[in-house]
Symmetry: C2
Subunit: 412 residues, 2 copies
Amino acid sequence: MTPLKLSPLSPTEFPNMPSLAGVELATAATGVKYKDRDDLLLMVFPPKTNLAGVFTKSSTAAVSVHLSKQVVQSNIGRCLLVNAGNANAFTGRNGDQSADSILSYLSKISGISQKSMMMASTGVIGEPLDDSLICLHLNKLWESKGTADWQQAANAIKTTDTFAKASSHTIYFDDQPVHICAIAKGSGMIAPDMATMLGFIVTDAEIEPSLLQKMLTQINAKSFNAITVDSDTSTSDMVILAATATSKVKISSDAGAGELAEKFKTSLRLVMTDLAHQIVKDGEGASKFITVNVKGAISDHSAHIIAKSIANSPLVKTAIAGEDANWGRIVMAVGKAGEPAERDKLSIKIGGILVAENGQKSDGYTEAMISDHMKSNTILIDVDLQLQNGTSTVWTCDLTHDYISINADYRS
Amino acid sequence: MTPLKLSPLSPTEFPNMPSLAGVELATAATGVKYKDRDDLLLMVFPPKTNLAGVFTKSSTAAVSVHLSKQVVQSNIGRCLLVNAGNANAFTGRNGDQSADSILSYLSKISGISQKSMMMASTGVIGEPLDDSLICLHLNKLWESKGTADWQQAANAIKTTDTFAKASSHTIYFDDQPVHICAIAKGSGMIAPDMATMLGFIVTDAEIEPSLLQKMLTQINAKSFNAITVDSDTSTSDMVILAATATSKVKISSDAGAGELAEKFKTSLRLVMTDLAHQIVKDGEGASKFITVNVKGAISDHSAHIIAKSIANSPLVKTAIAGEDANWGRIVMAVGKAGEPAERDKLSIKIGGILVAENGQKSDGYTEAMISDHMKSNTILIDVDLQLQNGTSTVWTCDLTHDYISINADYRS
């Protein structure tokens, strides 16, 4: 196939990433699926590393998801191996054995217990994964650990992403720096077999596992779990957060330590939200980045369901692709969500302009008022249900001809 | 805009419809939205008519839905007025008043109590409905009742439909005929919770309202509520079933009358399923008609959720548009449904050919085996979860460039 064209919403350059002593990176090119590019990433963590993770809820999850989940739960992870191009999902017992062969060989080389190894696989579903091809490159990969930078790492995990995704933040606690470095891949433009996403976040802070998990879960709900490209959930999604304890800063949930934790959490949220937005901006066929804010719902959960109903609606997404301020489709999407809403209380703003209120088009609103906004590549939708205080924000992209071309014309 | 091209899945001709004495039809062209075509339909029923109805569950339902629901519930309906081109939804108090003006004027002309009048409106959401323009045509419409045929009626209620939809069946009970005649519209904003679809079914049998409603609800679950075009549920869906009691056949739920009722129900199901299929075949941009059968689920409800997850998946639908036997996307859609499924029990057939079983690609399966099937315009997907006995069938169409063109370029 012809190479996918760079997303029009892509950032202009790869971000500057600080050096983070607590993790060693290495990449390799195995040729499992792609030619002439890295497709294998190894991340090695020091022994004191604490882990947190969130994983796909798919009932047909890939073997890598099951393996990594176990390692995170027992908090004994020392390394993570990521292969791109083959999801090793729905590959049955053979697929389980492929993963086992790879990790057992890596264990032999590295001396790290196999039980401490996490794995992530992304790419086509249902094709056998050639473990021997990957094993061929493990010696060199292990020997070269520490030589790759974050850009190489972010590139190695791409499938059909059109740009490498990374984000970082440095926080000072009494002049002691703590770094957060993170990479991600995915969203629909991309892996036409799924809307896969992977996210790997490393910090050099020392953070106890229960607090780490709590922070990851909370922020994940408002970042990676608040984006949608095409409503399709992959078999392979995972986000792993590793705290290597290589800085001088310890963040705990002890009484009195709340301020430190909040400061860290704010930075973590910035990094995760930035990556989540990058995934949407690389959404298959995306030409516009859309923010959907819902408030006034009976609960945050209800607001989230309504925001997702709007963000997943093919009719809302095609209207935006057509730069058409068709707010009636937003009304429809609120209505179909199955959550409490009252016609005569609902109000809708587009680009900050009130278009509908009191159960009808707003007095004085004309389409000309938002036509410039509709032509821009950043669309803002605000829905106020005026019932109670539930709020949610979801980010998505529009649905264009390129989405169809990529997914109907591209044979994976 | 340029006229929509006829769906490639369209029937070759409008069906033969029997005459049904119990209903009088009339149509008119008001010019509310469309030029040079009928957009108003009146159906008049005799006094003894019994009614049943199913309506959208949208929390932003149109005023016509609320009005018609009330009339059906009190079983006093004498006529139904349908306008196409404007849904009179999210038009606030003004919209309520528009509907009231129209029906009160029609009541004055016809002598039928306003409380006995049903209304259905379909078209753009959020635009004020010009009731004076409709009222202008009501005198002539009422006077011409009985002059329109089913084809004119089916044409008058179209919006983005590319063909008029009708179906009928005649059943003989001891040589006494009972007719079922039905029309429907719908093409986009179609999802299994009553879609932007209207369906009007008339029979000349005499059937008590509770039995009529029971049959309609049961069959609706397996016909209109088992189709999806784009997962978007409209503000205006309704299906109304009127039994005019103008034939000599009475169908009751009395002991011993079960056989009659079953015979009638079978015919009603044929008619409703035929119309539901016609709506999918006129799905916006549709090039293929897709049947998704799920069995072996833990319940029928669970099977239905999984079947809908497959039928609504943009990645499954674009793969089929591309004639790509990408069964990994079906695995993904089963996995994301949130219902019990086990990788190693799941099996998938496409076009009757086993493609996946035991958690992986089936032995001996090659894509060549189903390439002819993928090129045809009727696609069959069978999923067996092998857990328990829950089954469901959902019908849908593929997702093509034409869906994007129709919805990004057209204000519907």
